[in-house]
Symmetry: C2
Subunit: 217 residues, 2 copies
DNA sequence: TAAAATATTTAGATGCATCTAATTTTAAAC
DNA sequence: GTTTAAAATTAGATGCATCTAAATATTTTA
């Protein structure tokens, strides 16, 4: 069907498209894919020939409907494998990404539908991100960044924005985990840092942290 | 570490080496890999440069110790994934091969050791083939081809040689499965076909069948 | 053992994904 | 609104795995 590289580009465009107002720029894609702008141009042309993206020279790139569908299927696979690794193989949430990056490219409809069933149709991956269903539909959670809460507000931790190993290990160390209740006790005007309560614990966290934690109020 | 193609060549050489008395020939490898002899020569040179095989022009190719180890690790992964697919994801034994061909190339030590644990350290795959351990050691079963049994002899079905979907479906249809007891009731001198008893059932089978079933007496 | 047949290797080309260096287009600054 | 800076594209090259066609070894056959 599609090559490894093509699938990775589609995924990258999908992720960048969410945050961008206009089309995804060549440079942004090059940064995301850890490659050169000229390589991006080449690949984007190929994806355009296959009608996976809409591309006009110098105007950035957009996913087509079929490109979006394909990207969502890859993301579905990635997140299902992450659930498998954590729930069945005792991986920690900071260890799953790399391996899932490989597993997501295995081509078998049956494999994924059976895996989904085996995991009992999970709705979210270990980082709180929604898992698209076979049709590509998924719940868009109404979530807020912790940094946007005011003093006195309380919510549940439903996801993380930064999924780097370093950040996740920091969270583990401080017993900050999905599903826990967080209350904002104080907020420092100067640097935006917060004093928060997580269940029984109190903790001061910087904006590096509060900007990467999603809360549902 | 090694490319997809390199890994597949190592595996192919390993399988052909078992049956061959001398080195594996270029043509045999080309046949196994579904490619041209010239492509084989190129790849074999590359593997030789990496000390994975021993190769002298026109003399065939042998796995080196490190090549053998690598091949066994790939086979280990392939067979563990097959067990997973059958036992956890409800695949049938004729459906697993293709998917396992892809899964076997995922690169993660932890993934495989955890999978092994999750499956409770299986010793054989769904076709009865032994699963090498992390060191590459595996049990060599004392098994005989069904075609080598004489009238009156009884044994247990411990493996299949042909793992094609067609053959496995034929076995399923006739309720011939791993672990079942088989008795040779009669053998036709003319064409080698046999009348066998499998548990309660009686069945006449051709040499196409008896040459592809392994029995432990 | 010389000729014929078969097997294997070499030489040169292709497609894919990538790169560097040079060019062109667009956006920003003055 | 030119000029300058930044972004994007093109042209041409590289490495990998493969191919075809031609050349060379080896094995078989007469």
């Amino acid at each position: 069907m599609f090559s490894l590289s093509e699938e990775n580009y589609l995924k990258a465009i999908f992720h960048l498209q969410k945050h961008a107002k206009a089309g995804v720029s060549t440079n942004a894609l090059a940064e995301e894919m850890q490659t050169k702008a000229s390589s991006v141009t080449d690949m984007v042309k190929k994806l355009s020939d296959k009608n996976l993206v809409i591309y006009k020279k110098y105007q950035g790139v957009y996913l087509s409907e079929s490109g979006r569908k394909t990207a969502l299927q890859i993301i579905r696979k990635h997140r299902l494998w992450e659930v498998f690794l954590v729930e069945k193989l005792d991986f920690t949430w900071d260890e799953v990404h790399e391996v899932a990056e490989e597993l997501e490219h295995i081509k078998s409809e049956k494999l994924i539908s059976e895996l989904d069933k085996f995991l009992d149709y999970p709705k979210r991956d270990p980082h709180g991100d929604p898992i698209p269903d076979a049709e590509g539909d998924f719940q868009v959670a109404n979530k807020t960044l912790l940094s946007d809460l005011s003093i006195g507000e309380t919510g549940t931790l439903v996801g993380v924005k930064d999924t780097s190993s370093e950040f996740l290990k920091y969270l583990d160390k401080n017993k900050i985990a999905l599903g826990k209740t967080i209350e904002v006790l104080d907020k420092e005007e100067f640097d935006g840092s917060m004093l928060i309560r997580i269940e029984e614990d109190r903790l001061r966290v910087s904006t590096m942290v509060t900007n990467n934690i999603y809360i549902k109020i």
